[in-house]
């Protein structure tokens, strides 16, 4: 079983966002494995331990992404591939083309990724890859069971549970509840340093800038307006409840 995990490095979700010179400031920011991708890593390592095979991590990102990949190697993945090239734009159309160029030569049995990345949050890349590779997919899964050439997955669809049987090869994206990702162990961290780690450029993939011309472009970046100061309602619980409902009717006019 050849498993590839799509992994993105993101800001820790407790980080505040600031804008400097028209882009999001990265100074002093703590970076993590995208939380949804962490479930994918855990699931891949468990499946490999149960069924044999290998787990390859695959990422598109700047050089700092190596740190997240090392962490995932320490969790138990076997090797890592980082596609790093300043010409790759922040557009899902382009990123999926880059990943496709690599994956189309690898023919994995199973590709796992996160439901979406907590930074851009568009949830496109893994599903686009299913289309580009011509394989099946199921998004937002909370359970995965392999049965030979098929997989049974549970999918979270706005709170309802859908049970699907999907032929392999396939792509699945992880939702919360799929598993509890392990922490890297000390021996795992030591071993990770010696695991194969490949860095590729667009040239290495036989792609030119024209192949990955972005289909969409950011034209403005801003922070949401700060919320005005609110007020505390004080008094006995019954009075406070009465006052609140009254305010919602007369001031906020939402009831």
């Amino acid at each position: 079983m050849k498993i590839v995990v799509l992994l993105k490095q993101t800001f820790d979700t407790e980080e505040k966002i600031t804008i400097e010179n028209g882009s999001i400031a990265e100074d002093g920011v703590k970076f993590v494995i995208n939380p949804y991708d962490e479930y994918a890593v855990e699931e891949a390592v468990k499946l490999r331990d149960d069924h044999g095979g290998s787990v390859t991590l695959l990422s598109v990102g700047p050089d700092r992404t190596a740190e997240a990949l090392r962490t995932a190697l320490a969790m138990g993945a076997d090797d890592a591939v980082l596609i790093s090239d300043e010409q790759i734009p922040d557009d899902e159309f382009a990123v999926s083309k880059v990943l496709h160029a690599y994956l189309s030569k690898e023919n994995p049995d199973l590709i796992l990724g996160g439901n979406f990345s907590v930074d851009r949050g568009s949830g496109q890349v893994a599903i686009r890859l299913a289309s580009l590779l011509g394989i099946s997919h199921a998004g937002s899964i909370t359970k995965l069971t392999l049965n030979g050439t098929t997989a049974e997955v549970h999918r979270d669809a706005e709170g309802d549970l859908e049970v699907l049987e999907v032929q392999l090869p396939a792509i699945f994206t992880a939702q919360q509840g799929l598993n509890d990702p392990r922490y890297p162990s000390l021996p795992g961290i030591m071993k990770a340093k010696k695991k194969p780690f490949q860095t590729l450029s667009l040239d290495d993939l036989g792609l030119s800038e024209a192949d990955i011309h972005p289909a969409t472009k950011q034209i403005e970046l801003s922070l949401p307006p700060a919320r005005g100061a609110g007020r505390f309602l004080k008094g006995e619980p019954a009075e406070v409840a009465h006052e609140l409902v009254n305010l919602l009717r007369t001031q906020s006019k939402v009831i």
């Binding site: 851009r120 686009r128 289309s131 859908e162 049987e165 939702q175 289909a215 801003s222 406070v240 409902v245």
Partner: protein, 325 residues
């Protein structure tokens, strides 16, 4: 040159969803004079949804009815919408940013070799060009994005774009499209409805949300009573989900769902940054917490320092009085 805009009009169990009208509203925002707005309704029982759409002044309603489309299956739905795209050759394809839209839009975009802008919260025109606002980091920042080339694919976030309004005397032409019936590599074996009769969290106008302060699964009971009374939905913080008080499907935050209701009531939620990202664009925020220093109060319009188990049932009583009068 006139454009053709195709709207995926989502139905749930045969009923047109509110997001379908909001997606149609988005189509009107990008349509110019002479552009053609067409909608697709797909499913296994769509008569009611189709007739509901007839009042909204669209040019064509494409309908595809087939048993394969009873539950969402990406391959079956892609085949259905692919047949319509082949026919209509749209310049733009629009979806709601829902469980179905999030899954289907990237398949359509990839098949069209097109760009996609996801989770759009506003659409403006700047210098004759359509510009799409969308959140980054779950709403800690926003970007405006534009397409570099066509066709366009985008998904719109529920509760943000004004719904299309009915037009007197509207009458659409209805075209039944044959489902191409591909051999499916994926089968939906079962659908377990856990939300029957409940309002979807991301579409809800009122969200009552619980954190660690609810202390147990049973502790959500008073929140559910208030939500039921107001026709709202219950949500939760990561703390409450991690503690096992509720399903992860209820989680609101940077991991989890982003909600933008009219009223958000946070009960026993401290207000970690990652939670605030998921709810701070709500119109009116009410926080109930024992700790007056809790960060949630910094984003709340109205703060109540107290025990949610005292306050929430009293709120339910007060709302009930107002609603019956």
């Amino acid at each position: 040159m006139s454009k053709t805009i195709l709207v995926y009009a989502e139905n749930r169990d045969g009923k047109l969803r509110q997001i379908a009208l909001e997606t149609l509203g988005a189509a009107r925002l990008i349509a110019g004079d002479g552009d053609s707005i067409r909608v697709l309704v797909a499913g296994s029982n769509i008569t009611e949804a189709v007739s509901a759409l007839n009042d909204y002044g669209v040019d064509t309603i494409y309908t595809i009815e087939h048993d394969d489309l009873e539950s969402y299956n990406p391959e079956a739905y892609m085949a259905a919408i692919g047949a319509v795209i082949d026919l209509a050759q749209p310049d733009a394809v629009l979806f709601g940013h829902t469980a179905i839209g999030r899954d289907l839009a990237p398949l359509v975009a990839a098949s069209l070799n097109a760009g996609q802008i996801s989770d759009v919260t506003a659409i403006d025109t700047e210098g004759g060009e359509a510009v799409f606002t969308r959140p980054l980091y779950a709403g800690k920042a926003f970007e405006k994005r534009a397409f570099q080339n066509g066709p366009w694919v985008f998904t719109v976030r529920p509760n943000n774009i004004p719904a299309a309004e009915a037009i007197d005397g509207a009458n659409a032409s209805i075209e039944d499209i044959t489902y191409p019936a591909p051999s499916l590599r994926s089968l939906v074996k079962d659908v377990v409805r856990k939300t029957t009769g409940k309002i979807d969290l991301s579409e809800a106008k009122i969200v009552i949300s619980g954190g660690r302060g609810v202390k147990s699964a049973e502790g959500f009971q008073p929140l559910e009573e208030l939500a039921d009374l107001l026709g709202g939905a219950v949500g939760a913080s990561r703390g409450a989900c991690d503690a096992g008080y509720c399903d992860y499907a209820l989680q609101i935050g940077q991991t989890g769902k982003v909600v933008t209701p009219e009223i958000y009531i946070a009960c026993g939620i401290s207000g970690a940054i990652q939670h605030l990202a998921g709810m701070s664009q709500s119109r009116v925020i009410i926080a109930i917490n024992k700790d007056p220093e809790a960060p949630i109060f910094k984003v709340a319009d109205y703060g109540i320092v107290g025990d949610l188990f005292d306050i929430v049932p009293l709120l339910t009583q007060e709302f009930r009085k107002v609603l019956v009068s």
